[in-house]
C-alpha cells in the first residue's frame, strides 16, 4: 500500500476545564488512503468529532490541547504546523462540512459571497472569475438556477439546499480530503440519501478522500470503504466496511449493529451510558456495558488493537493469548440463529445482510 493521505498516530486530545481534564481523544490511530472513504462511527460523546476537528486544529485551543501523537497529512505533521500553514491547509487541502447546515452559513452574507471568499482565500483569481467558479460549483452540487440564486441569502434556502451550498464551499479550492461531520444528521431521510449520493459522485469526480463522521450505521453501509469504531475516546475496531459488518469483532461493534433497525428481529439497545470522560474506567472502556467482561477487562490499560483479519483490528482481550475469540464471534452465530428460528444461513449474522442490502 502506498503512503496514506492522512495518518493519525496515537492522537491524544484533551480539554483542560475547571472540573478536570477531559480526555476526549485518548490514543486514536487511523489511516485514510487517497480516494478512500473512511467512516468514523460512535455514539455521541465518543470523541469522533473532536478527533476530526483536531486534524486541522479547529477545536478551541485553549481549553483544547493536542497532548500527544501525530497527524501526518501527505507526509507533514500537522500537530507541528504553524497557524499560517494551517490556514493554507484548511479549505485549501482539507475541507470540512459540518452537521447543521442551518447554522453553518453566515446569515448576513449572500451564499455566493461566502463561496467566493473560500475560493479567493486559496486561489489568486479575480472576483469575477471566483464568482463564475462559485456558480459552477453551485450548479455542480445541484442548486437549480445557480446563476439566479448566487446572490440569495442563506435563510432563503432549505436545509438540504444549504448543505449543498456548504459542500460547494468545501469544494471551492479542490481539496484532497473532505472531513464531513454528520453532514446528513440534521436532514430528513430523502434529503439524506440525495446528499450521500452527491458526496459519492463528487468523490468520483474530484478524486478526494472523505472522512465521514456518523453514528448512523445505515449511512456507513452506504458510503464507507473502511470503518473506524470509536468509543470513549478510543478506537474499538477498525477494518474494511464489509468485514466489520460481516464479522463484527468487538462486543461494542456487535452491540451497535444490534441497535440497527430493520434486521427482521427486535432491536437491542446497549444498556448503560458512556463512561465519564474525566474519569474513565480502568481496563477496557467498554467493560461496564460488556456482556463478556472478565477480570482482565476490569484492570490495567485499555486493550491494544489486535489483528482479527486482513487489515481488520479489534481492541478486545478475547483476541489475545489465553482467550477463545469464538466467544465473541460465535456468539453472533448463536444469537442470529436463534433469532432466525435456527435457519442454517445464520452465519455471519444478520448485520451483514443489512449492510449488504443497503449498498
Amino acid at each position: 500500500m502506498t503512503d496514506p493521505l492522512l495518518s493519525v498516530r496515537d492522537l491524544h486530545v484533551q480539554f483542560n476545564t475547571d472540573e478536570g481534564t477531559v480526555r476526549a481523544v485518548d490514543g486514536v490511530s487511523f489511516d485514510v488512503a487517497r480516494g478512500e472513504t473512511v467512516c468514523v462511527v460512535g455514539e455521541s460523546g465518543s470523541g469522533k468529532t473532536v478527533a476530526c476537528e483536531s486534524i486541522t486544529k479547529l477545536i478551541p485551543m485553549p481549553p483544547g490541547e493536542i497532548a500527544g501523537g501525530e497527524i501526518l497529512f501527505d507526509g507533514e505533521d500537522l500537530t507541528e504546523a504553524s497557524e499560517k500553514r494551517l490556514e493554507d491547509i484548511r479549505g485549501g487541502r482539507i475541507a470540512h462540512v459540518f452537521q447543521n447546515p442551518q447554522s453553518a452559513l453566515n446569515p448576513v452574507y449572500p451564499v455566493g459571497a461566502q463561496i467566493v471568499e473560500a475560493i479567493r482565500l486559496h486561489r489568486d483569481v479575480s472576483k469575477e472569475a471566483a464568482r463564475d467558479r462559485a456558480i459552477d460549483l453551485l450548479d455542480r452540487v445541484g442548486i437549480p438556477e445557480a446563476t439566479a440564486r448566487i446572490d440569495d441569502y442563506p435563510h432563503e434556502f432549505s436545509g438540504g439546499m444549504k448543505q449543498r451550498v456548504v459542500i460547494a464551499m468545501a469544494l471551492a479550492a479542490d481539496p484532497d480530503l473532505l472531513i464531513a461531520d454528520e453532514p446528513t444528521t440534521a436532514l430528513d431521510v430523502t434529503i439524506q440519501a440525495q446528499i450521500l449520493r452527491l458526496l459519492r459522485d463528487l468523490q468520483d469526480e474530484f478524486g478526494m478522500s472523505i472522512v465521514f463522521v456518523t453514528h448512523d450505521l445505515g449511512v456507513v453501509a452506504e458510503i464507507a470503504d473502511r470503518v473506524v469504531v470509536m468509543y470513549s475516546g478510543k478506537v474499538m475496531e477498525t477494518g474494511p466496511v464489509y468485514d466489520v459488518f460481516e464479522q463484527p469483532s468487538h462486543p461494542y461493534t456487535k452491540a451497535l449493529l444490534g441497535c440497527l433497525p430493520g434486521q427482521g428481529k427486535s432491536m437491542e439497545p446497549i444498556g448503560g451510558t458512556l463512561p465519564d470522560p474525566k474519569n474513565p474506567p480502568a481496563g477496557c472502556r467498554f467493560h461496564p456495558r460488556c456482556p463478556h467482561a472478565t477480570t482482565d477487562c476490569r484492570t490495567g490499560d485499555h486493550p491494544e488493537l489486535l489483528d482479527v483479519g486482513t487489515d481488520h483490528e479489534a481492541a478486545c482481550v478475547y483476541y489475545g493469548p489465553g482467550y477463545d475469540a469464538s466467544v465473541i464471534r460465535g456468539d453472533a452465530v448463536s444469537e442470529s440463529t436463534a433469532a432466525d428460528g435456527g435457519s442454517e444461513g445464520g452465519t455471519p449474522g444478520d448485520a451483514s445482510k443489512s449492510g449488504g442490502d443497503d449498498r
Binding site: 446569515p107 448576513v108 449572500p110
Partner: protein, 324 residues
C-alpha cells in the same frame, strides 16, 4: 414590498410621532401655571419695573392672552418654522443660544464618543475571543469599574489630582482659548476622560456579549475551516453579524453627539455647552429654553429610531420590511 416604500412609511410614522409630541407638550404648557411669567415679573421687579405691567408684557410676547386654538396654531407654525421662542435669561432667541453652546459640547463629546466606540468595541471583541483569560477578566473588571463610578465623583477626583495636586491641567473650562490650540486641548482632556470611561465600559460589555453569541457559532467554525485568518474571522464573521444589535447603541451614541448634553460633566467642568445651558435654564425657569433643550433630544430619539430601523434592514438580510 420595496425598501423605498418601507422607508417612506417609517418616515411618515416619525412625522406623526413628532406631531403628537409637540401637541402633548403644548397641552402641558397650556395647563402649567407660571410658565416663566413669575420669573419674568420677578426679574422686572428687581430692575425697578412694574410687576403687573411686566406680567402683561409677558403675556403679550408669549401670546398667552389669545384663544387656545389660535395659540395652538401659532405654536405649531413657530415650531415648524424654527421660531422657538425667546430666552429671557440670555436675551436672545432660543435657537441662537443653542447654536452658540453647541460647539463647546461637540469639542469634548466628539472625541469622547469616538474613543468610547473604538476602544469599547476593540476591548469587547478581544474579551469575547479570549473569554475567561486573564485579559478578559481584567477588561471585565475595568468595565465594571468604569460603569460603577459616578461621573461627578470621577470628574472631581481627576480635578483634584491633575489640576489641584499636580497642576498639569486646568481645573475648569475657560472660553476664549481658541479651538485648535494646545490650551484648549489641555482643558478638554479631563472632560473627555470622564465622559468616555463610562461609555467605553458600556460599549465593551455590549460588544463582548454580542460577539460571544457568534464566537462559537457554527458559521464561525465554517469560516475558520475555509482557511480564514483570525482577523478576517473576527471582523467579517463575528463583528459584522454582531453589528446588527450593536447598531442600536451605535446610532444612539452617534446621534447623542447632536445633542451632547452631558449635564454633569459640563457642570463639573463649567463647559458652556448644551448641558450647562439646559441646566441653567431649568434653574432659572427659562421655559422657552428648557422646552427647546428637552425637545431636541426627543426629536433625536425619533430620528434615531428611524435610522435604526433602516439600518437593521440594510445590515440584516433576514429582517423583512414587508409585514411591518
Amino acid at each position: 414590498m420595496s425598501m423605498h416604500w418601507y422607508v417612506a412609511r417609517r418616515v411618515a410614522w416619525a412625522v406623526i410621532a413628532t406631531y403628537l409630541i409637540l401637541s402633548i407638550t403644548f397641552g402641558l404648557l397650556a395647563v402649567a401655571p407660571g410658565d416663566g411669567q413669575t420669573a419674568f415679573a420677578f426679574k422686572a421687579a428687581t430692575q425697578g419695573g412694574d410687576v403687573d405691567e411686566a406680567q402683561e408684557t409677558f403675556d403679550e410676547i408669549t401670546g398667552r392672552d389669545e384663544p387656545l386654538l389660535t395659540r395652538y396654531k401659532n405654536y405649531m407654525v413657530n415650531m415648524a418654522t424654527l421660531n422657538w421662542g425667546w430666552s429671557f435669561t440670555r436675551n436672545q432667541p432660543v435657537l441662537d443660544a443653542i447654536a452658540q453652546a453647541y460647539p463647546y459640547s461637540l469639542m469634548y463629546a466628539l472625541p469622547a464618543t469616538l474613543i468610547s466606540i473604538i476602544a469599547g468595541y476593540a476591548i469587547g471583541l478581544y474579551s469575547a475571543t479570549h473569554q475567561y483569560t486573564l485579559t478578559d477578566y481584567f477588561g471585565t473588571f475595568t468595565a465594571f469599574f468604569g460603569i460603577s463610578i459616578p461621573n461627578f465623583w470621577f470628574g472631581i477626583m481627576l480635578i483634584l489630582v491633575f489640576a489641584v495636586d499636580l497642576g498639569w491641567l486646568p481645573s475648569y473650562y475657560q472660553t476664549g482659548r481658541g479651538v485648535w490650540t494646545v490650551a484648549n486641548a489641555k482643558q478638554l482632556i479631563l472632560p473627555i476622560i470622564v465622559l468616555s470611561t463610562g461609555a467605553i465600559a458600556g460599549n465593551m460589555r455590549y460588544s463582548r456579549a454580542e460577539a460571544l453569541e457568534y464566537v462559537h457559532a457554527d458559521f464561525v467554525k465554517t469560516a475558520r475551516a475555509k482557511g480564514a485568518d483570525d482577523w478576517r474571522v473576527l471582523v467579517r464573521h463575528i463583528f459584522r453579524p454582531a453589528l446588527v444589535p450593536l447598531m442600536t447603541i451605535l446610532v444612539a451614541d452617534i446621534l447623542g453627539l447632536l445633542f451632547a448634553g452631558a449635564y454633569i460633566t459640563e457642570v463639573v467642568f463649567q463647559i458652556p455647552g448644551l448641558g450647562l445651558l439646559s441646566y441653567k435654564a431649568i434653574i432659572q425657569q427659562d421655559t422657552a429654553l428648557v422646552m427647546a433643550t428637552t425637545l431636541i433630544p426627543v426629536f433625536i430619539a425619533i430620528i434615531g429610531n428611524l435610522v435604526q430601523d433602516i439600518a437593521y434592514t440594510v445590515l440584516d438580510p433576514r429582517i423583512s420590511y414587508g409585514d411591518r
